[in-house]
Symmetry: C2
Subunit: 243 residues, 2 copies
């Protein structure tokens, strides 16, 4: 009888992955930080450098860590330049890279509706913040976002904080609340513009819009954001790849 016969057997590198993830959850290393070198981690976890490397390789493949030859391994951050487009899949049809400008419409405290509550593992009626904003390309409004986050995890969030923050919303969540988004699932439908979004997006009511529902997760696959984006896709597309 050896340890591998155990039904709960996990390879060493997988256990190392979990230990690293736990340090990320605990905030021992925060987004942007360098984590210890492979050799240091190997000593700490009492395994070989190769095993640490395999664990880091997989976390890097999941975009949770970033390796830089000669420099070290870093915790992925939305504050990095090339991270700005990581979760933004709407792009111009002509291929020109353009980052949208954001206009904050409102930040309110609400009771979570059943739909977003269940996806965020909250009780219906739990306290959430509801953020509404409008994203524009070339000055033309294209995306109307409604964003729900649990109030418990985003204590003190308000209008002014977001308005004064220069970077992306996920970068803001990271720096002010220590919550890093690492993964998201999206469900997309085509819907008719209602009166509110028609006015905001400068389209007639009934105009087809892309409705993009997202749940975003932080370390340990914990859901911490629900959002619904309504997108006017004239000269823009939602771009994705599969393999």
């Amino acid at each position: 009888m050896n340890i591998h016969s155990s039904p709960s057997f996990r390879p060493l590198y997988d256990q190392i992955k979990i230990l690293i993830t736990q340090s990320l959850i605990a905030g021992e290393w925060r987004p942007g930080d360098a984590i210890p070198s492979e050799i240091d981690l190997a000593a700490r976890f009492k395994v070989s450098q190769g095993t640490v490397r395999k664990a880091i390789d997989e976390l890097a493949a999941e975009n949770i860590l970033i390796r830089r030859q000669g420099k070290g391994t870093f915790v992925a951050s939305h504050s990095q330049e090339r991270a700005s487009t990581r979760f933004l899949r709407i792009a111009r049809d002509d291929g020109v890279a353009e980052y949208p400008t954001s206009k904050l419409l409102s930040v309110t405290r609400e009771r979570a509706p059943e739909a977003s509550a269940s996806l965020l593992d909250l009780r219906t009626g739990a306290s959430i913040f509801c953020i509404k904003r409008l994203l524009s390309f070339e000055g033309a409004p294209r995306i109307f976002d409604e964003i729900h986050v649990p109030a418990a995890a985003f204590k003190g969030l308000d209008d002014a904080m977001i308005r004064n923050y220069p970077g992306s919303l996920y970068s803001f969540f990271e720096s002010h609340f220590g919550i890093a988004m690492i993964r998201a699932e999206e469900h997309i439908k085509a819907v008719k513009a209602g009166p509110i979004e028609a006015e905001l997006l400068h389209v007639p009511q009934g105009q087809p819009l892309l409705r993009v529902d997202r749940v975003a997760f932080t370390y340990g696959d914990r859901p911490v954001e629900w959002r619904r984006g309504l997108c006017h896709t004239e000269r823009f597309s939602y771009v994705t790849e599969m393999s």
Copy 2:
């Protein structure tokens, strides 16, 4: 001065990846086949097993190869059971897994319009096959597909061949023409249903539909299929994930 200073330097494992890909392009190993064992490949390419392993690891991560412990490493195929949903991102909202039925509408030989020709690296007016079909879930039509493939690479394709084939279209392309789709890019918009698709999908004209434009690639990143799908997303969504 060592070889690594060369601007065209590629690590060994990357060169092995290219050699394996070339064998796939040449048809030495076809979808579903087992490729030689790591040890055999190491001997053939005069490198260590570890280097072959790294090359195979990356190709497996790209879903080009599939590893099976104890059995061997296989060329990914659309004829495998779990491949059926690999490129189908439309799913029921209630989470029930259901594979749509396909009704073939037409197969015609056409001159490539500028739009699909340029994406397929063809001259405008080059000969293509145009396939039209309707996909239904629970008997309800949901997706109207128009598919363009270069006639040169799909010689002899016709209506009856597709109609008699039991599996998916990509499985059909593989078995009859030796062309395996390994990657695809999609651009999605919300559009109004025109008269043709309105009738086919049983929706009123003007109904919002998802328009999904796809370019699919085979080994060596060669584009070999363009398609446009018009999707009625009532009780269905386009599902995707990002990290």
